[in-house]
Assembly symmetry: C2
Homo-oligomer: 503 residues x 2
């Protein structure tokens, strides 16, 4: 591997800590030092020879130091290709000094932001322009130039200067170029973040649990306005997101403007009903599973009126997200101090890209935006219109429950659900148990499954309980078992060809 | 709001598309145009007057265009503070031209990378140095300068030039500065990614469901090596992450080197046992819930031997993650084509920061790294050593199950679990049902809950089934009900003061 000897170094550092040893080693290795204002002063004060950038450029540092190193002679000295004949000739003609080592310590943008969060001018002044430009130029030309972009690399540089007498290999230069692009990236991310997010960065009290720190980056008031109650927690935000996502989905595709209520716990829907009036919708949604509703998050597309508010007021819930509240309703609901009351803004909910940090990397995926790809009737009879409505609603619920999930719906009410299960049949059994626990009759109910039935037993078990129509994506190698059972027993079966796992 | 009139514009664009209209509007508004080589040629060819950058700097474009705009007169013209008297004097003295509008279209780094992924030299040459420097300088000085950093903003600029006659407000300039820092950030992220990660970006077949696109960014082989089987799916990766996270947790804090097997489905643990030999550990783990194990992900800290492999081979599973395999074991397991066999690398699993995209923002939190804060005995008797071991193991399981979660353990085997539930009592009932389904006796079993028991009924129900010891964080206002029941019935009760919600 070819080694290159460093002949001259440009040093432009904000913080002078740790540079003494480096400078002494440069001198020891006969490396010429070039530097800017403050750095030059510091090095000279240590009794070491040092060329001022201005001596090379014949330009003063102007505009309070906003422009110092930005000059063709400096950037040419960093960027020219050492092996290119034309570049060599131009270097000679324009007397461009070779700069083989660039040491930069950037203006402390993040530190300034931390220490003077409200001093916008000071923060702006600490956006380094020349520094990142030099780092990027040196990194681009790593074939010939070594770049030190952070004090953390001083030890590495000292080793190179001590053990290799001021020579470096291309692997070493490329390694530092990689780190340099990371340094610049992080620096620019902090600036972009300041410009984009700073006013809306919110430190939460804690994360999913009290021992986990947490922060929300973005505009927390984009989709709702808080009218009353304690500060929103991490878990509240996650539940609210799950709820708004579900509500947007059914509002767009199904409910339109009919009154509905949905109740969530741990991001899962445990109560749901669509009715002609908000009061009835509320009471029927609550009756889906009054036990789970305890401490839950309530959603509705209605402007809550006094009658409904008075009834909601009798139960314990964490958050209520409504289109709005009448003045009397708000007054009733505000009597409990901690209770959180939110009203939706007019912003349309955008399904975000889904990101998980796993296995030391980042896993990204598109949002699950579509509900049904096809509607293929495979059962022993056609689905009737009222069943069709219930099947559609059940399918929305199953899509938004954690997998494995089963949703049972009857007359536009959720009457049972199984979710977060490690086997499909467990999800099914659980949904039936929940329905029975609250004395729902399953006669004429419909069932949605977020993924295929692996065997024919699921529809058989459900049928024995009175369930008459099914919706599922299909795709098991044993689909025919399920189809045969439905045909033989005159049950409706809709295949959507669209799975909805959610974890 | 004060408006500023643009007097001159610097245009330096790689792609000339869409610039014609802009240039005509600049002329119409009496704005002087300055530009570099190719851009200058293009504008002049349209019959429009345009000053060459070289006319201002009196410097040629050198080193094959690597250094063009990098000159104090250009950067000074962008960066000087219009209202600062010293800056005004220096501008006058050095004849620095005011540059009030900067239009840059960067070298197409990402496109080059996409079209010539193997041409490293071409990719390096497409790292723009002058462009980002100008964008950053103009954005820093947004108080006086308007920056157009992307063709996407041409429409916006046209509107400003048409409707406001070449004047702009500070809000408009700051808005474009924000976008400019985003553009530079994205550009530098792509470069840093190329230098650091490019070889390890992996497009997955699809995401959680077939209709969702997905990509993994990072080194997918960091924690495991694939020895056999089909390509890993999104859901495989999520399950593997959950499993390795759980295994690392119990290996570090509990199991040490004793043989264990864990089986996961949909990220939840459904089988687990620690035993003296790997064969027994496997059989006992499988017996926890053989139904859920169907199509599951299996984890072990063992080098799989022939005896165990021959037994594992009889069931249907998706992925096996082991410390390693003997040659004979591998031969047996490889007989099924699709089955995925992985061996762990020596890399230590790092709990990542947890990130969720919700409500139009980003929610970040620390990983849940600790297991137990305190060990406070509050029951009717002290926990005995064997119960203590079972309680610790149950607590690890409950921590890693989706909330609400209950785990039942007996003799270092998981014998029942409830997870992903919307009420605690449902999770409890489910865990008991699962144990009974597979004929486990609950006499002498222990129970862990990921969050507090809200009322005293949970321990009462569990006790009636034979469960004798409990571990939970505590924290309900009704903790005393639970404590009283345990004291009255001589049950062991451990309060950890550490909740473990996981969603």
């Amino acid at each position: 591997m070819e080694s290159i000897k460093i002949t001259s170094a440009l040093i432009s550092i904000y913080n002078k800590t740790g540079i003494d040893t480096i400078v002494q080693l440069l001198v020891k290795n006969n490396i010429k030092i070039i530097s800017t204002g403050g750095t030059h002063e510091y090095i000279v004060s240590k009794g070491i020879d040092c060329i001022k950038v201005e001596e090379i450029t014949a330009y003063p540092s102007i505009f309070s130091g906003r422009v110092k190193t930005i000059h063709p002679l400096i950037f040419g000295g960093i960027l020219y290709k050492r092996k290119d004949v034309t570049h060599q000739q131009e270097q000679n003609l324009y007397q461009v000094p070779a700069i083989d080592l660039v040491i930069v310590d950037l203006y402390p943008f993040s530190e300034t932001l931390k220490n003077y969060p409200n001093d916008h001018q000071k923060i702006i002044e600490n956006i380094d322009i020349g520094g990142p430009s030099m780092i990027r130029a040196a990194a681009k030309n790593y074939e010939s130039v070594l770049v030190i972009s952070s004090k953390n690399q001083y030890g590495y540089l000292e080793e190179l200067l001590t053990k290799q007498g001021g020579t470096t290999t291309v692997d070493q230069r490329r390694h530092l170029a990689t780190e340099a692009f990371e340094v610049v990236k992080e620096y620019d991310m902090a600036i972009a973040d300041y410009f984009t997010n700073a006013p809306t960065k919110k430190v939460l009290r804690y994360g999913e649990n009290p021992h986990q720190e947490s922060v929300f980056l973005g505009d927390i008031t984009r989709y709702f306005k808080q009218l009353h109650g304690k500060e929103l927690s991490y878990n509240n935000l996650v539940d609210i997101d799950a709820g708004i996502s579900f509500c947007t989905d059914i509002e767009d595709g199904f409910v339109k403007n009919k009154p509905f209520f949905a109740i969530l716990k741990h991001t899962n829907i445990c109560g749901l009903a669509i009715r002609d009036t908000q009061f009835v919708a509320w009471q029927v949604a609550l009756s889906s599973d009054p036990e789970s509703a305890f401490g839950g998050i309530i959603f509705t597309n209605q402007i809550i009126d006094l009658e409904t508010a008075t009834n909601i007021d009798t139960i314990f819930f964490e958050v209520l997200v409504a289109k709005g509240y009448t003045a009397e309703a708000l007054q009733v609901l505000q009597t409990k101090k901690n209770r959180i009351l939110l009203s939706r803004t007019t912003a349309t909910y955008q399904q975000p890209k889904l990101i998980k940090n796993i296995l030391g990397g980042i896993l990204e995926q598109e949002a699950d935006k579509t509900n049904i790809k096809e509607w293929i009737e495979k059962g022993g009879r056609e689905t009737n219109p009222s069943e069709k409505n219930d099947l559609l609603l059940a399918n929305y619920v199953a899509k938004h429950l954690k997998s494995n999930a089963i949703a049972l719906v009857k007359n536009l009410q959720l009457i049972g659900k199984g979710c977060g299960q490690t086997s499909r049949i467990d999800a099914l059994k659980q949904s039936i148990q929940k329905a029975k626990q609250f004395n729902f009759s399953l006669d004429g109910a419909v069932l949605a499954s977020d993924a295929f039935f692996p065997f024919g037993d699921c529809v058989a078990i459900a049928h024995k309980e009175g369930i008459v129509a099914f919706i599922e994506p299909g795709g098991s190698i044993r689909d025919q078992e399920t189809i045969n059972y439905c045909v033989d027993n005159k049950l409706s079966l809709v295949i959507t060809t669209m799975r909805h796992f959610k974890h």
